[in-house]
Point group: C2
Chain length 217, copies 2
């Protein structure tokens, strides 16, 4: 039975899962959800995810939401297929994948998402970008990336010398962030820059990036 | 070698890990970190966690940070000890643990932590509680708990009919939230109330709750 992913090719949460599916070489059907028509707040969708958010993955009878839970599920179920994204054979390596995945969730995502939203989303919905919010978050982002720079001068990827979910989860928002006027914050840090160029040129991401046209219209 | 946990018995992140250690029946040494003296921002601590936050777990040569990564590591390493908190024998059940753990992280924690901080922390550091922030988050919390109420009318715990990390992660902040004037938001929802009474009366949590005196002085 083919995997069904409900979401949008420009949504950061949806693409987080799509990249994982491509990394694992899995076939899936992308079922579009019309967010503008609030399809995600209708009973049919709420039955799949009561929080009314994309993405949702249907794998036979199993219905999952929360993008990072879905990638972790796929990485576990298909751990022996292509790259092992959770390093299941090593307790220590898998622990580091968990640590740096949580860092993405709690240190990186809240900061970079605010910048992307203020820069791209606010104008789209008729609001003015709040430069104070952007500046505050740029400062926070700089501090987070200082930690990344030190980390990535010791290991090639965040969790160690292996590509993992911890890196993958960064791709969608960083891709949009690099289209803002502040990409230099990342490019000025040589190890972070090299890491970004590495992970963003992986074929699995390139397949997904072509649909990430948010902010281009 | 005994596990070393660096943190504070009143910190929500530290207690998240302590509860897990008690659930697993593991001995550990709690190494106090003097946050008021900014010990967590000194080189010795930053070498353990470059983000300068408690808790940090040292297990022999392995140093871990991010409370939810630590609980997931402990639950994996000691999966056969006492309660299996990640349901490793069932791919579907472990997927639901992942989903509801992410819900705690992204839907519940950001909302409840704001209320607790405004109510307890702001006055402690000489600021005025911002009632607008509290009200906004109480409204959001109500919506999240509506979803929980429906979920918990179908399953005894969040991920299914078994206690898991997904429930455990809720304990620290909910414990403090229940000391605010708005505990009725939770108590008015009978299935959520029954779930809270169940998980907060587990012996592993009761051992930890006695040290959670934040907001009482």
């Amino acid at each position: 039975m083919v995997l069904k992913l409900h979401g949008l090719p420009m949504s950061t949460s949806t693409t987080r899962v799509m990249i994982c599916l491509h990394e694992k070489g899995l076939d899936f059907e992308l079922v579009p959800v019309d967010l503008f028509a609030r399809e995600n707040k209708q009973p049919l969708f709420l039955a799949k995810n009561p929080f009314g958010q994309v993405p949702v993955l249907e794998d036979g009878d199993l219905t999952l939401f929360e993008s990072r839970a879905i990638t972790a599920y796929l990485a576990e179920k298909y751990k022996d297929s292509r790259n092992d994204l959770i390093r299941h054979e090593s307790l220590n390596e898998s622990a580091m994948v968990k640590v740096w995945s949580e860092v993405e969730s709690h240190e990186y995502d809240p900061v970079v998402s605010q910048i992307v939203h203020q820069h791209f989303v606010a104008p789209m919905i008729g609001k003015t970008s709040d430069q104070t919010v952007i500046d505050e978050n740029l400062e926070k982002l700089g501090k987070v990336l200082d930690v990344y720079e030190t980390r990535l001068s010791n290991t090639k990827y965040l969790a160690g010398d292996f590509f993992s979910l911890a890196d993958l989860h960064h791709l969608p928002y960083t891709f949009y962030f690099m289209k803002t006027p502040w990409a230099s914050i990342l490019n000025d840090r040589p190890h972070v820059k090299a890491w970004w160029e590495d992970i963003s040129s992986r074929p699995a991401f390139e397949k997904v990036a072509v649909g990430m046209v948010f902010g281009e219209k």
